[in-house]
Structure formats: structure tokens, C-alpha cells
Symmetry: none
DNA sequence: CACCTGCTTCGGCATGTGCCGAAACGTCGA
DNA sequence: TCGACGTTTCGGCACATGCCGAAGCAGGTG
């Protein structure tokens, strides 16, 4: 752990509403000029400049100079991760997050399964001792390896790739983790192939089929109304 | 993402040196009473009480009342994760606070370099724009390719192999990333060959030689007491 | 060169917040 | 019931910091 003073210094950079807004926008959108950030935040260019100088000093953003424009972006992926980790701590106001019900129940997150279903699967695997979580990754236990093999996941093949094996991917609608990485992608791919889940016509939404409902019930004891 | 104002509110709870110190202690140690936390922080009980009330309100800690004592602890594992994610963003000071024990300072992790030295090398390369990190891999920039070639790394050969090129390997003693994968192995191999580092007689410990100390100082500006 | 534009630096004002002294509250033990 | 102790609440002070107006700097353009 770093010295508390340094930790506080970094946290206080995010701990200002204006700067937090800038960082949130940079987290979700492309690089922006100082002027754009000022307008979006509703503050004068001087003030924005001061904030950006601090963020730069704290190594939360980096800047690319193009002529008289200065494009700011998040300094590195760690910053994005820290912002997301902090977001999870924000006390929920009234409704947790307003997500349309279908999307909230199940959707794809890049190439793996997210939403209530994705989280339930991860936690079901964990409760049955098939999956173990560490700080930000998952690992299959020996019985877990046999279990996913029954679904048709080829572990040999997965471990070849350069991709992280199984990442704990934080779910923004559930505020809990689901399985990402190579394993997450392979699980989703198999569940589609087994027709336990099916893509909705458009968007990232996913539907649980009748077979899927039965399958999850039988294999992991998961059930839904 | 939550509203930026709420994000800022939560971050600013950590963004005070005194509170950050309390949270750090709670992260590493057992639950403590309000009075203990006050003494450890070197502030009056009233002031500590105010801080703890804020942390409680922000749901970063929870409290257990036992008679006239109040035991505070972190509210949940998400808080610990957020603190650690934030710690990663703290700009590195070159001199570590504590004199590191041998293993902590430098060791091999499979076939690449880990510990304070491994992390410092990775971050030194990154700060100089020689290495870029994405989610779980590293990539050499063009200037980085020239740099490692000077150490005798044969990039042609590395890219032949089936192994992941450069993995971000999380260091358990430092809680930060160092370079793994094929590049990490090649760097370690070259540093041994150049006699910048040497294996300790037994175990995985690694020693920094006088040449190594000079070399890291000159090439990456790293120095140790 | 002059001029516009994007951005930063400087100075002063106002608000926010960390700190402690004083005092109150609740629990425990004599 | 009383006093000791751990903790919280209240009030006021001092410092830190966000804000903007004014001014300065540097790149692009005619």
C-alpha cells in the first residue's frame, strides 16, 4: 500500500464533482479537448484548465497536443478500473440502476454473459465449489473443470490463447461480478450452442430458453419465476 | 455509472489524508475502536468521531457496538477492492519506504522478474513511453523495441513462439503489475546474461548487482538506497 | 505583421471542511 | 447513585480549494 497521504491525494482528485464529471465522460467517450470538457462541465476554460493540470499531475489523464488543441484522455486502463471500482461503492439512491428489464436480466458484455443471469451463474458455480474467485480473476477447481467439460468447453484450447483465462467482470446493473475473459466467452458460446440462451433480435439482450431454464435448474439449482 | 456528484462524494471520503489513513489501517488490520483509530491517526477523539460518521454515512465502514466501545471495520470487500484499485494509481515514488526483504525486493516468477524490482522496471518502461499496457497485456512501442534490442532481446525470435507476448502479471507482494509472458522471460534472461541481476544461492530470490544498479539508474532512472 | 482562437497563468473572492475545546450522552463498575 | 470512560454533538476558527475576470502565450491564418 502507498502512503495514506498519497492515496488521499489521488482520491481527492476524483473527489471533486467537476473533475469526477470530466473523468466519467472520458471513461465513456473518446478523447476531448480542454475546451470541450469545459463546456460539457459548464465551467470557464480557466477553471477547466486548472482541473486538467491537476489530473495530469496526478497521472489520471494524459494529453496529446495537436496544434493549438489539447486532447485529454484517461492515462491508462488502471484509471478506468479504479473509477469503476469506486462506482460500486456509491450508495444506491432509490432504484439501483434504471436498466430496461430484458437487458437487466441477461445480455452480452462483449462476448460473455452478463446481467442477473450472468451473475447468478457465476455465483452458482462459486457456491458449488466449481469456481474460486481471487482479487480480480476466477479459477476453476478440479470439479469445476469436469463440470464445464460436460457443457462442451475445451479447456485445452482456452489455455493456449493469450487472453486472460477468467476475469471477474463487474456488472454495472447488478453491481456484482460475472465471468469474463476466455472462460466467460467459451461458456457463453457453449450456452448459445446448447440453445439454453438465445440472442434477442436486436441489441445485446439475451433470452433464457425453456431448455436453459431446465438446464440451469438441474445443473446449478438456479430458478427464476 | 453513478452520477458524477455521487462518485465525487464517495471519492472525497477517501480523499482526506486522515480518513485515508484510517481506511488503510482497517484494510490491513482487524476491526478497531473509535479511540484506537483516533490515537493511531494522531487526532482528537472528536475529530475521529466526525470522520467515522462520514465514512459510515458513505457506507465505507460499518460499526459494531459492544458496550461503550464501537468497533469499526470496512463495510465490505468492494471497499477493499476500490482502495487497492486506487492505490495502483498513486504515482510511484522511487524510494520505497521500508527496506524490502530479499524476496520482496526481487525474485523470479516462473521465468521472469518479479518483486519491487520487476514492478519498478515495468513502470519505468511505461513512464518513458517504451511500454504500453492494456487490460491484461503489454505492448512495446517502436522506441521500446529499440530499447530492449540494446539489451540484446531478439524480438524476431519472440514473435515466432506460441507464447503470449507480454502479459501483465500481478505481483502479490507489490499489488502492481510486472512484465510476464515471452517478453518478460526474455528480459530476465538478458538481465542475468548481462550480470545486472544474479540468482541467490537458493530459492527464487534475485540480487541486484553493482552493474545492475548502475545500469537501471542510467537507462531507466531507477535508483535504490 | 496583425488578428483570431485555444489554452494557460495569476490574483482575489467565497465557500467548504478539518481541527479542537467544551459539553453532553450512554455504559460500566464501585 | 456516583464517577470514570468511550464516544458523540456543537460552535468557532483557520486553512485549503474551486471559481471567475483579466492578462499572457502560442499556434494557425490572412
Amino acid at each position: 500500500m502507498p502512503h495514506p497521504i498519497d492515496l488521499a491525494l489521488t482520491a481527492s482528485l476524483i473527489g471533486d464533482a467537476t473533475r469526477a464529471g470530466m473523468l466519467s465522460r472520458l471513461l465513456e467517450g473518446p478523447a476531448r479537448t480542454a475546451g470541450e470538457l469545459a463546456r460539457e462541465a459548464g465551467i470557464s476554460p480557466q477553471t477547466a484548465s486548472g482541473h486538467l493540470a491537476k489530473l495530469l499531475e496526478g497521472n489520471l489523464v494524459r494529453v496529446e497536443v495537436q496544434g493549438r488543441h489539447r486532447y485529454y484522455r484517461l492515462a491508462n486502463p488502471d484509471v478506468a478500473r479504479a473509477l469503476e471500482a469506486l462506482s460500486l461503492l456509491v450508495p444506491t439512491r432509490v432504484a439501483p440502476v434504471r436498466v430496461p428489464e430484458p437487458l437487466r436480466f441477461a445480455r452480452t458484455c462483449y462476448d460473455h454473459l452478463a446481467g442477473t443471469l450472468g451473475v447468478a451463474m457465476a455465483e452458482g458455480l462459486e457456491q458449488r465449489g466449481l469456481l474460486e474467485s481471487s482479487e480480480d480473476t476466477y479459477a476453476l477447481t478440479p470439479s469445476g473443470e469436469r463440470f464445464v467439460a460436460k457443457w462442451g468447453v475445451d479447456l485445452e484450447e482456452l489455455s493456449q490463447g493469450r487472453r486472460a483465462f477468467a476475469r471477474r467482470c463487474l456488472d454495472w446493473s447488478e453491481r456484482r461480478a460475472h465471468v469474463g475473459g476466455a472462460l466467460g466467452a467459451a461458456l457463453a458460446e457453449r450456452l448459445f450452442a446448447l440453445r439454453w440462451i438465445a440472442r434477442r433480435p436486436e441489441g445485446r439482450g439475451v433470452r433464457l430458453t425453456v431448455e436453459g431454464r431446465r438446464g440451469f435448474e438441474k445443473s446449478l439449482g438456479l430458478s427464476w419465476p
